[in-house]
């Protein structure tokens, strides 16, 4: 069983009558890159703010590293975070800002400051004041801050905002490297599913403060990839026919009545004939496959 880094239990946040978060229960395991997807105002930042103790939940609770969130003490240092816009002291340079937080975290060796700046490509701007930074540079400094103290868990709220395509690609590589090489667990939010798809291993779709769907990358692939959906009341026999008559094992049983076939995509009539010949009762047979954005939209639409 994998170690649990974060477990939320019916977290709810109300602002007067408005529910920003509605009974959210998620679990993030060690080594996950957990993508939080949702439209603006879906509750992503509120959830992250509760986890980082920037706000208190109205009800519900959460555990970080097995410790009650509100009692987080020493374990707080195991978290690196970037919530909303990166915020630093405008009159300090990039290096001085990071040194301020390094001292605050009790670090005695300041080499990680250089490493962090290197990782986000800000070495050349180390002596530039924060107030003179572009939006992209600010964002990168925010990420350098989040990874400064070699945390076990990084929380990043829309970290790619304001970055150019090369910057986004570099950051994606950095996140993957941190995750793979240093086994850092990452919670990352975005409203762009395609961006999250490129980096995350698990996904949670939030809408109007509620969890609409929680799925792994494999499950998302299945949901989105092009395939032929076969709905029938005899899955076992259907699978045998697919293997014997169409010579394919490239299919997945989705539930008690559905098989998805990832080959013979343009041969629906051939599939239909093979199944009918063997007296299979076909309840549905059609081609499907959508882009990530379409999938996201369809899930949101279902809720609304």
């Amino acid at each position: 069983m994998s170690d649990i880094i974060l477990k939320t239990n019916h977290l709810t946040k109300k602002y007067k009558e408005f529910k920003a978060l509605d009974s959210v229960s998620i679990t993030i395991n060690k080594g996950d890159i957990y993508g939080l997807i949702g439209r603006n105002g879906a509750g992503k930042t509120t959830l992250m703010k509760i986890i980082t103790t920037l706000t208190n939940p109205t009800s519900g609770e959460f555990e970080l590293f097995g410790e009650g969130g509100s009692e987080l003490t020493e374990n707080k240092r195991r978290i690196g975070s970037l919530i909303e816009n990166p915020s630093f002291f405008p009159n300090l340079t990039a290096y001085e800002n990071l040194k301020y937080y390094a001292i605050q975290k009790g670090m005695v060796d300041f080499k990680p400051i250089e490493e962090s700046l290197q990782l986000v490509g800000l070495v050349d701007a180390r002596n530039k004041k924060f107030k003179n930074f572009s939006l992209g540079m600010k964002q990168r400094l925010g990420i350098a801050f989040a990874i400064l103290d070699h945390p076990d868990f990084i929380i990043l709220d829309e970290p790619i905002n304001g970055l150019d395509p090369i910057g986004i690609s570099d950051l994606r590589d950095t996140f993957k490297r941190l995750n793979e090489e240093k086994n850092i667990t990452i919670l990352i939010s975005s409203h762009i599913l395609s961006e999250l798809y490129a980096v995350a291993s698990r996904f949670c779709i939030l809408e109007k403060g509620s969890v609409v769907k929680e799925l792994s990358k494999e499950e998302l692939d299945i949901e989105c990839s092009k395939c032929v959906v076969i709905q029938t009341d005899n899955l076992k026999k259907t699978a045998t026919i697919l293997e014997k008559e169409l010579n394919t094992t490239n299919y997945k049983v989705i539930d008690k009545k559905e098989i998805r076939l990832y080959e013979h995509l343009d041969q629906i009539s051939k599939i239909s004939k093979a199944l009918s010949k063997n007296d299979i009762n076909i309840l549905g047979l059609y081609e499907t496959g959508i882009t990530l954005e379409e999938y996201f939209k369809s899930v949101i639409k279902e809720v609304n």
Partner: protein, 279 residues
């Protein structure tokens, strides 16, 4: 907690504000030393209770004279008085420097939103509150000591013994003022946690003392209320009286009042901060 204090000291010493503050305090002290009279702020003149210029003719002369040398000659003709104690009596002037320190240490964090970085991945709200409060107290204590003793030594050097009390007397006056001064600082810390942003904090805290005085004096005068207790324990008057050979009973009452302010404002400030959402 120590780490946050160390980090804030690192940041403050990197900036210019603390040095400018010290330069202004030095400037004010030099003006008072050369002018041989303490400066004051607010609606009441604390100097009246400490300077002890009772001669109406002398007051008139001071008002008529236009040059510094003339003022110094008149003051010297008084035959000497404890100018350093008079300056300690006007320590309410430091209120505005305390505002700078609170802005520098606390409001900047809220205004830049850098508080999010600290609270999300470094320390708890409780430790944050007390680290900031302790550092503000430490720096303000340093400012008070610096103000009092810088003036003491320069005054001794420039104006001589006739216009100075003893080192120990300065220390005594400084110490007995501390409870009330810490009460004022606690009020400012409370304001900072309530109003958060620098602009809002400044809008409230800068005119606060004068506005309170204005309202209370207005009410007293309007309704002809006998309010000796207010004149005695109004903070600006109280600080002046504490530097003018107070009775031990008065010192004790002021200390208790100071402790009451400290406890009250920290309860309000901490409770407000504990339940606030960091935006």
């Amino acid at each position: 907690m120590m780490n946050l204090i160390k980090a804030d000291l690192y940041r403050i010493l990197k900036g210019k504000a603390i040095y400018i503050t010290l330069i202004i305090i030095i400037g004010m002290s030099l003006v008072s030393v050369i002018g041989m009279t303490p400066g004051y702020i607010g609606m009441t003149s604390a100097t009246e209770s400490t300077l002890n210029i009772e001669d109406e003719e002398m007051r008139g002369m001071l008002l008529e004279v236009n040059d510094l040398k003339g003022v110094r000659d008149i003051m010297k003709s008084l035959g000497g008085y404890e100018l350093d104690q008079a300056v300690i009596g006007t320590n309410m002037n430091l209120y505005y420097f305390f505002i700078i320190i609170v802005v520098l240490i606390l409001c900047t964090d809220f205004s830049n939103k850098s508080i999010k970085n600290t609270l999300s991945s470094a320390i708890s709200r409780k430790k944050y509150y007390w680290s900031k409060a302790i550092l503000i107290f430490l720096i303000c204590t340093f400012l008070v000591l610096f103000n009092n003793y810088f003036f003491y030594f320069v005054n001794l050097l420039v104006n001589g013994k006739d216009f100075a009390s003893s080192f120990l007397d300065v220390f005594k006056s400084t110490v007995i003022q501390f409870p009330l001064i810490y009460g004022i600082i606690s009020l400012l810390i409370c304001f900072a946690f309530l109003f958060k942003k620098t602009a809002a904090f400044n809008t409230i805290s800068i005119p606060f003392v004068m506005v309170v005085q204005l309202i209370v004096y207005g009410i007293i005068n309007l309704f002809r209320i006998k309010a000796d207790w207010f004149y005695q324990y109004e903070i600006q008057n109280a600080l002046a009286r504490l530097a003018n050979h107070p009775t031990s009973g008065y010192v004790l009452n002021c200390a208790l009042l100071g402790v009451f302010y400290i406890v009250l404002f920290h309860i309000i400030g901490y409770y407000a901060f504990k339940n606030t959402e960091i935006k």
